[in-house]
């Protein structure tokens, strides 16, 4: 308990951040020049933080494992970014965005952080537009909004289906500007392998140059981990192939507590697995649920083609179970309902692990309105279908094309097959109000921290949080720490702590090569993924989690006895990179299961089979579990739980219902 101080400022909720900004210690410009900051990761959080800090005068070094900072996986976000601008005059406000985010997160996030997030959301849009991000506009030249994620207001800003790409490239351009000006040193194709703590403070990192294989020591007065989420612990996810937990996990092993590791978001609309060869899953934007109807056959084990199944024989299970929200229930609810049907034997497709997302009704509906619009009287059935298809193509053309590209099926004629997939991790390194972890000088931003999303993230909120942390939070909060560091001269990387950390990293690499086993890294990763998906995925039980922990421990032993890492260490070696990451994923997987086992309630993306209502809905236990579970690594795969109680002062806690 005593180890966690969230450092939430005093005062009324609306005043906390304003007061903080006015009273936080500042660093004078001359001193900033001699303060060095390391940023690990170049996604929205990393790029925006690095450029902002460099503009302020700090000396910044940025690391990313990809060949360019522009590749970070923020780029893949499709839908949009929320901001409480109220441009649509539909009653939006900072409070409403705050409220929706807390409620959407199933009351497992920190009020003060979320309120701050909501209040800087508007500035993000301003900043992005000023830096050249081409967000969608109306004919009058004003920014366009759409509704998203089942909220009642239109507050989502977007750039077609490539919002993440446009925002990331905007942040990237700001970062590259600072690189060009000499204020940021960019280290691409570098992977962080350890953090270096000196006298209880984080003072740098060990990184491997992925091309030469050389281990490097880098000093920083502060280190910012902006390394994203750990969804790839499931092997199959919508994350990029290289997305990993290594930076966060190494920090965890050096003293940073890990918050709510079991909180994982499973996105309901992804293209299902097509076979053993599957390497990753592709998301189909949530916006499709605005027009598509989800169904499975009523008949158990029905093997007929979709078009042969009549209306009466179809079970629109979301509309049946949740008449008020229908197909638009939140992500966690939709995902569990799909799993329930498939597990019960009603799934479709070759694997039987999929449900239909059908646009037939939408095509018919749009066909009629389009015929009226075009003034076509008594249109034929074919004409109606054609009109409808045109409208659907205009709205979702690129998504339909992507679906056809991947599956080889035409979604205008056949319903899409979809299934839930791991998408985002709400858990991450525990941070205080300053975004500092439990290690002084070590920060975590964006998806890498345990964040503002509680137990479930709302759509279009991830981009918002990454940029909020990088553009508008860390530039202030880092001053609180660095203002006390101005007298600290850059520490030589010959310091024994650097030497020891590099030695440690080298030993792990040597150990991996020394095994000379028989199985590839992917072999272990796939097995880990299967354990996690089956037992720590959409539904979790005490029995399953206990089994999973035992299986993961056995897998860990096997990995360290039988993995085969080809090639050499002093070379470009992607297999070695993967091996290191999978080794960390295995350890993280165990902690996730431990966390899930501890939390015997159901909340957000975390569904404990033991904790559900009579109708099979998630049952939260606020009196027992209204806390952040922050895990301390005591070495030797032992973890100690610390609880940060969550106090809700501005919001009244209520059970979510979408009936």
């Amino acid at each position: 308990m005593s180890k966690l101080d969230s450092k939430i400022p005093e005062g009324a909720l609306e005043q906390k951040w304003e007061n903080y900004k006015s009273s936080v210690a500042l660093v004078n410009p001359a001193n900033k020049r001699s303060l060095e900051v390391i940023v690990v990761g170049s996604g929205l959080a990393g790029s925006s933080a690095a450029s902002s800090l460099a503009e302020m005068g700090y000396k910044v070094k940025v690391f990313c494992f990809q060949d360019s900072p522009r590749r970070a996986h923020s780029i893949a976000a499709q839908g949009g970014i929320n901001a409480a601008k109220n441009y649509q005059n539909d009653g939006d406000s900072t409070y409403r965005l705050f409220y929706d985010t807390i409620k959407g997160g199933d009351y497992r996030s920190r009020e003060a952080n979320v309120y701050r997030l909501a209040s800087v959301s508007s500035n993000i849009i301003d900043q992005c537009v000023a830096s050249g991000v081409p967000l969608a506009r109306e004919y009058g030249g004003m920014l366009s909004n759409r509704s998203f994620g089942g909220t009642q207001v239109q507050r989502t800003f977007y750039a077609a289906g490539q919002t993440g790409q446009q925002l990331l490239l905007g942040a990237y351009s700001g970062l590259l500007r600072q690189v060009g000006l000499g204020n940021v040193e960019m280290c691409a194709r570098h992977e962080m392998l350890d953090v270096v703590n000196i006298d209880g403070k984080c003072r740098g990192i060990i990184a491997r140059d992925l091309i030469t294989g050389k281990l490097e020591r880098h000093f920083g007065h502060a280190v910012l981990l902006c390394s994203g989420g750990y969804g790839n612990v499931f092997y199959l996810s919508t994350n990029a192939m290289g997305s990993n937990v290594t930076a966060a996990w190494k920090a965890h092993k050096r003293g940073a507590f890990f918050g709510n590791p079991c909180f994982t978001q499973i996105h309901p609309t992804c293209i299902p697995v097509s076979g053993e060869h599957q390497s990753k899953l592709t998301l189909m934007s949530e916006s499709l649920r605005n027009d598509g109807r989800i169904w499975v056959p009523k008949k158990h084990g029905d093997t007929r083609k979709a078009n042969e199944i009549t209306e009466e024989e179809r079970d629109y299970y979301l509309e049946r179970r949740y008449p008020a929200f229908g197909n638009l229930v939140p992500r966690d609810v939709a995902s569990r309902a799909a799993k329930e049907r498939c597990d019960a034997g009603f799934g479709v497709g070759a694997s039987k692990m999929a449900v239909y997302l059908d646009f037939k009704a939408a095509i018919a509906r749009y066909g009629h309105t389009q015929a009226v619009k075009l003034g076509v009287h008594n249109p034929s059935a074919d004409e109606l279908k054609e009109f409808g298809k045109q409208v659907v193509e205009e709205k979702y053309g690129n998504l339909f094309a992507m679906y056809e590209q991947i599956t080889g099926e035409n979604p205008y004629e056949l319903p899409m097959r979809i299934y839930p997939a791991v998408h985002y991790t709400m858990g991450g390194l525990w941070v205080d109000y300053n975004l500092m972890t439990t290690v002084p000088g070590l920060y975590a931003l964006g998806e890498a921290n345990f964040s503002d999303h509680g137990a479930n993230r709302l759509g279009a909120s991830a981009l918002m949080q990454g940029l909020a942390d990088g553009y508008f939070v860390i530039p202030y909060t880092i001053g609180a720490y660095l203002s006390k560091e101005i007298s600290v001269k850059a520490i030589s990387t010959d310091h024994e702590a650097f030497v020891a950390a590099e030695k440690n990293a080298q030993e792990i690499i040597d150990k991996l090569f020394a095994i000379k086993g028989t199985k590839s890294v992917d072999y272990f990763h796939k097995r880990l993924g299967k354990i996690m998906w089956d037992k720590c995925g959409m539904a979790r039980s005490e029995k399953g989690l206990k089994e999973a922990i035992a299986e993961i421990r056995a897998l860990r032993d096997e990995f360290w006895k039988d993995v085969r890492v080809p090639g050499t260490a002093n070379d470009f070696n992607p297999e070695l990179e993967k091996a290191g990451r999978v080794a960390d994923f295995i350890e993280l997987g165990e902690l996730m299961c431990i966390d899930a086992l501890n939390r015997t309630e159901s909340c957000g993306g975390h569904f404990r089979e033991e904790s559900q209502t009579e109708e099979g809905e998630a049952l939260r236990k606020d009196d027992e579990f209204a806390y952040v579970a922050a895990w301390e690594n005591n070495g030797n795969h032992t973890y100690e739980l610390h609880k940060e109680e969550l106090k809700f002062e501005a919001i009244k806690i209520a059970q979510r219902s979408y009936k």
Binding site: A130, R137, K280, M402, P566
Partner: protein, 250 residues
């Protein structure tokens, strides 16, 4: 299984930039048409690792066609035979049983080979660092709706901004020219009122850096536009030419 294919792959293997490379033949069996091209490489690499050989190094990350990292030159075309897709979104159903597929890295002096099919595209970053941005510091921004932008301009800027920086344009250009990449960024920012402020310096500096990196010259064959997975238009190159001339007259 039905529809599964046996293929002959001829893949460029090269230890490093310093050493010479060559095509090496690998047969692969039982390839599902539902696999992506990169998943077929995963299968091959798994075989190589099990045999004790070194797997083929290739760049890839998001595998959903947006990060721009994957970069294979397949049977004489960047990202393979299908238009509008990246290598990761190319599926094996685009090939047939018995096919021979030649896979090479992007080839350009400005993109030196790191290993096998992996090349160094940091030249692109250096070009962007010279001007592919708007010089606005965090916190300086006015309200996003203060400057209305005509929808046509915003849409055109967006289309130029869709570039993923994969380098297929350079790879396919007979001159290894980077004009499409550079012009996409120049256009995007030139079309927006926010970007006009420093348009003159931007285009001069970016073109100068592009030349310094050793890319070739544009001869308007239009191959880049055809092969661009994001459909970046040649109009951007014309616009950059215009911007550049005007900038130099000023």
């Amino acid at each position: 299984m039905s529809g599964h294919m046996n293929l002959t792959l001829k893949i460029w293997r090269q230890k490093s930039d310093k050493e010479k490379g060559k095509l090496v033949t690998y047969p692969v069996q039982n390839i599902s048409p539902d696999m992506s091209f990169l998943e077929m490489f995963d299968v091959l690499n798994e075989q190589l690792i099990t045999k004790g050989d070194e797997p083929i190094a290739f760049d890839h990350d998001c595998r959903e066609g947006i990060c721009g990292m994957c970069s294979m030159y397949i049977n004489g075309r960047p990202h393979g035979p299908k238009r509008g897709v990246t290598t990761c979104q190319l599926h094996m159903r685009s090939f047939k049983d018995g096919d021979t597929i030649v896979v090479e890295p992007w080839r350009a002096a400005a993109f030196p080979v790191i290993k096998d099919l992996t090349v160094d595209r940091s030249a692109f970053d250096r070009v962007i660092a010279k001007g592919g941005f708007i010089s606005v510091n965090t916190g300086n921004a006015q309200d996003a709706n203060n400057i209305p932008i005509p929808k046509t301009d915003a849409d055109a800027a967006f289309e130029a901004a869709a570039c993923i920086g994969c380098g297929a344009c350079v790879a396919t250009c007979k001159n290894s020219s980077a004009m499409l990449f550079v012009s996409a960024k120049v256009s995007q920012l030139a079309l927006l009122p926010q970007g006009r402020v420093e348009a003159t310096a931007r285009v001069k500096n970016m073109v100068a850096q592009m030349d310094e990196e050793g890319f070739g010259n544009c001869s308007n064959t239009g191959a880049c536009e055809v092969e661009c997975p994001k459909g970046i238009s040649l109009e951007n190159i014309a616009l950059m030419n215009r911007e550049f001339f005007v900038a130099n007259i000023k």
